[in-house]
């Protein structure tokens, strides 16, 4: 229970209770996690995620992005030390994507351990420090971005993460030097 108290899980599809309003979701979360000073914290989160005016609305009246923001606000209310994000950018508009990245980076700077599960490799490349690649449920590699690049792109440290990913998950292909993109793109 102590571990769960410090944990937040934010699924890719916002899991909200259709009969609870925005503010009732936060009250519910505050009680579950015994959040001290819950009211000002909830208000700050609602302001940050631009949900203040929608505090009395039900999830059915919110857009996909708004629902995602509400799920994240609930996840952050108890100031968790570990946050699991599953595809955090799904359904967000460009403004939402920018704000979400900023929030994740801020939480990381504030000391939270953030685990992101994503297929958006540019997001991973942009905000993650460590990488774990799974293939059919098994770990292929785990390390810092630099370490992973070193392993799969020995001849070209600038190889994109996308290329690294394809090499790492290629069927029965031992890791080796990445092909020269210029050579590969050149027609025979």
């Amino acid at each position: 229970m102590a571990a769960k108290q410090e944990l937040a899980y934010i699924p890719d599809e916002p899991r909200l209770f259709d009969y609870l309003s925005v503010r009732q979701h936060l009250s519910f979360t505050a009680r579950l996690y015994h959040v001290p000073d819950a009211a000002p914290k909830a208000r700050a989160l609602l302001t940050e995620f631009e949900l203040l005016e929608k505090a009395r609305q039900l999830p059915g009246q919110l857009s996909r992005g708004m629902k995602q923001k509400l799920a994240i606000a609930c996840g952050l209310l108890h100031q968790p030390k570990v946050i699991l994000f599953d595809e955090p950018l799904t359904g967000l508009d460009p403004h939402g994507i920018r704000r979400m990245k900023d929030t994740i980076l801020r939480l990381g700077r504030e000391g939270a351990a953030i685990v992101i599960s994503s297929h958006l490799l540019h997001l991973v490349e942009e905000i993650c420090s460590h990488l774990l690649i799974l293939k059919q449920g098994r770990m292929v590699i785990h390390g810092t971005l630099a370490e992973v690049r070193r392993r799969f792109a020995e001849t070209s440290p600038e190889t994109s993460l996308e290329e690294v990913f394809f090499r790492a998950t290629a069927p029965d292909e031992p890791p080796g030097p990445a092909p020269d993109p210029a050579t590969r793109a050149r027609p025979d």
Binding site: M1, A2, K4, Q5, L7, A8, Y9, P11, R15, F17, D18, Y19, L20, S21, R23, Q24, S27, F28, A30, R31, L32, Y33, H34, V35, P36, A38, R56, Q57, L58, G60, Q61
Partner: protein, 588 residues
């Protein structure tokens, strides 16, 4: 293009059938289907095998026909059909829409298909449901002839149901046309009401002379009644207006007595007229159909996940049952949440106040008019309903773990041990059901003196009965809720929300019904087992205390011991279910 639509519909039916056959490999569907078929067999087969006297041929002067035989049935059915048709014109306010799925809209609307073809496709699609409903109605209505004319009645019912569907379609198109031509909904409704009032006065004018000569105290089995009905509904303008409806109803009446299928021809004529009307009046229905499809998808998804509030299209924030400060028992957060979920149905403060006020009103009535026959009726009614509320209440009050299981991954992240999650979820329906049952027990006990055979029941007796019942109520509710939620947790594939028969289709509806029957039997068996020890303990306490105290004291004491025993068993079950919840693999 026609071939493509036929192919689509044929493949849909075939694949639906195939998928339903394939899923019979899973025992829950196979057993469900067998139980459902056995139930339907019992319901529909028994009348055919029961010994009835042979139906009399012709009219026996010694046994005059009931007013529900012969022509009067035809006229009454025509009147009923007319009313149904009138409501199609009176109630709806939206523009015409056809029921298409979202996939059909996405594929068919942008395709180069004329609107008429879409209407035909829609009509073709309704056929499975219509034929199935017609078959059920033919089985039911041919029971009197021991099923001899079931196949003869099938086309009669099919024509009637198709005609109603066709009329609904044509009326929708025509309403939209009228709206586009400047006739607002209120004016149309006024017009329809005017027709209804005029029809009512004409019927009354025809009926009034007959009523003077009829005895209202005699059973309505006299020929004059038949004459009166035929005169009121079969003559003059009323008869002319009801003629098409009578044409549709007549085959059902005469086919039931073995008439030839030739009698269907006039009804087929009416159906053909309605078909042409629907085609000729077709207007743009695409936008409204899209809205309807989206709404239906949303409601079905909501209902399948148990979100009845979304299904009921809740538009405003629900009233919190009590303030929820951040400190205190964590599990109460789940109870609080579920009470908000239930409030549209059951826990509205208005309903609570209304219930208590009614109880107080009943008490005042009891003291003012203790011999009123109403009290006797009420006590008998409550005595009949209460067991049903105890048994069916936990099945219907699903604002608990059953509603939240689709979100189990989220629930498992909450910092609560499994047993607290289960308890927090159960408390809301337990509280609501207990409140309702206490009100009913209170009302029954207040009304009880009126049915006492040996004079009025004493105050002590009534208090003792009420106390015993009220002590047992929460423990019984928790036990039943544990059984229902335990089933959902241990055998999730067996538990489907009401109204969800899985994928559409009659076979799916039958296996869903069978599954519910089996589950109900299993829950009843579980309840009986759970009651064994508490009943034994309660009985022993009653016998022992009876040696010292009057039974009015012994009964609540025995109930208390039984409730505690039930509670002890419940705590054990709660712990086991909590452990199961913690171990549950949400990826399954």
């Amino acid at each position: 293009m026609v071939a493509a639509l036929v192919y689509l519909q044929f493949c849909s039916w075939a694949n639906l059938l195939l998928s339903q056959v394939r899923r019979l490999r899973h025992p829950q569907y196979l057993l469900g289907l067998l139980a459902g078929l056995a139930y339907l067999g019992l319901v529909f087969w028994r009348p055919f095998t029961a010994r009835h006297p042979e139906p009399a041929a012709g009219i026996n002067p010694a046994n005059p026909p009931s007013f529900l035989e012969g022509g009067s049935v035809e006229h009454l059915a025509a009147g009923g059909l007319f009313l149904l048709a009138a409501f199609t014109w009176l109630l709806p306010s939206k523009r015409a829409a056809l029921d298409f799925s979202e996939a059909e809209i996405a594929w068919l609307f942008p395709a180069p298909l004329p609107r008429r073809m879409l209407v035909h496709y829609r009509l073709l699609k309704t056929q499975v449901g219509l034929v199935f409903s017609a078959l059920i109605m033919a089985l039911v209505t041919s029971a009197a002839s021991r099923g001899r004319f079931v196949w003869a009645m099938l086309p009669g019912w099919w024509i009637l149901m198709s005609a109603l569907e066709m009329h609904r379609l044509a009326a929708g198109f025509t309403r939209t046309r009228l709206l586009d031509r400047g006739l607002p909904n209120w004016a149309r409704r006024l017009l329809v009401l005017g027709v209804l009032v005029a029809m009512g006065s004409l019927i009354w004018r025809n009926l009034a002379p007959h009523l003077a000569g009829l005895s209202l105290t005699e059973p309505p089995s006299l020929p004059p009644w038949t004459v009166a009905i035929e005169d009121a509904l079969g003559n003059g303008i009323v008869g002319a207006i009801l003629l098409p409806f009578r044409t549709l109803a007549r085959p059902l009446v005469i086919l039931a007595s073995g008439a030839g299928l030739i009698t269907l021809l006039p009804a087929l004529g009416v159906l053909a007229f309605l078909y042409l009307w629907a085609l000729k009046s077709a207007v743009g229905f695409e936008d409204e159909s899209l809205d309807r499809a989206e709404r239906r998808t949303r409601l079905v998804q909501a209902a399948r996940t148990g979100n009845w509030h979304l299904a009921a299209e809740q538009q405003s924030e629900g009233h919190a049952p009590f303030p929820l400060p951040p400190r205190g028992l964590r599990l109460l957060a789940l109870t609080w949440k579920n009470l908000i979920s239930a409030q549209l149905l059951l826990t509205s403060p208005f309903l609570i106040v209304l219930g208590i006020s009614l109880l107080c009103g009943l008490l005042a009535f009891r003291f003012t008019l203790p011999e009123a026959p109403f009290l006797k009726f009420l006590a008998a009614l409550l005595a009949g309903i209460l067991p049903m509320v105890f048994i069916l209440g936990p099945e219907l009050a699903r604002f608990d773990l059953r509603q939240d299981l689709p979100q189990a991954d989220l629930l498992k992240t909450y910092p609560l041990p499994g047993w607290q999650v289960v308890l927090g979820e159960l408390l809301a329906p337990a509280l609501v059901l207990t409140f309702i049952q206490w009100l009913m027990i209170g009302a029954a006990v207040i009304a009880l003196p009126a049915i006492g055979q040996r004079g009025e029941w004493s105050l002590g007796t009534r208090v003792s009965l009420a106390a015993a019942a009220m002590i047992l109520t929460p423990a019984l509710n928790l036990t039943l809720l544990l059984l229902h939620n335990g089933t959902a947790l241990l055998f999730p594939a067996w538990v489907r929300p009401p109204g969800n028969a899985g994928s559409a289709g009659s076979a799916a509806a039958i296996d869903a019904m069978g599954q519910r029957l089996l589950l109900m039997l299993a829950h009843l068996a579980g309840l009986l087992v759970a009651l064994l020890v508490p009943c034994a303990l309660g009985g022993a306490v009653f016998l022992l205390t009876r040696l010292v105290f009057a039974w009015t004291i012994a009964l609540p004491l025995a109930a208390l011991v039984a409730a505690l025993a039930l509670g002890g068993q419940g705590a054990l079950a709660l712990k086991l279910l909590g452990d199961r919840f913690e171990r549950m693999d949400i990826t399954d």
